[in-house]
Amino acid sequence: MTAKPASLISSSLTTKALDPSRRGSKFQQNIDKTHSVGAIYSFVGLVRSIGQQGQPIDVLELEHYPGMTETKLRQIAGYAAQNWQLIGIDVCHRIGPMCPGDVIVHVIVGASHRQKAYEACGYVVEQLKSEIPLWKKEIGNAGASWVTP
């Protein structure tokens, strides 16, 4: 008998470009060493070229609350891992200025079966929208405006 291995849980912030392909590939390698993972769901959030008021966007700036943002990300990833018995979860959110087409956030969850992975991924994405101290500002020819929920 070996003990059930703990989930691989990681969450982070970055100011650099996010590469979902590279992250996804690493994630799969890291969590599926014993081939117990049956399902991986992932979410990629992208900067759109059209803003909330229909205006063209050149830059999206993401302001955050240093310290609290990291803590909340960790809490959400940890809760999801425990609640849905995930084998692994990786959440990375970009902050600072970015351009249309850039990846804002990447969530990956792996579980033995698809239903758990699906629910966990949806949960984390919804929490990112409502429970992480992040604020989006859209900047374009028409000026700058803060996004409202």
Binding site: K129, I132, P133, W135
Partner: protein, 84 residues
């Protein structure tokens, strides 16, 4: 007692302040702190505008109006979050 205040997002821009330390009566609640800030008048009165959907955190956990502040705590005030 001393409270360290932080402002974020549109609220930070509207008020023109990023952070400040203020002294408030012992055992103040979050709602008392907001009332004190509103008393500054002008733009500060928007802090109690219910349409603004103000949110707050005490020591980096989301907080409610009735939550009691402690000496030396960090209070953040900000608009509804828009991450993800």
């Amino acid at each position: 007692m001393l409270v360290h205040l932080l402002y974020f997002g549109a609220l930070r821009e509207t008020l023109g302040v990023e952070q400040e330390d203020i002294v408030i009566p012992a055992n103040s609640k979050l709602t008392d702190l907001l009332a004190l800030l509103c008393d500054r008048g002008g733009i500060w009165e928007t802090l109690q505008d219910p349409n603004r959907g103000l949110r707050a955190a005490i020591d980096q956990e989301f907080a409610e109006l009735d939550d009691v502040l402690k000496d030396g705590c960090e209070v953040a005030l900000f608009p509804p979050v828009t991450g993800g």
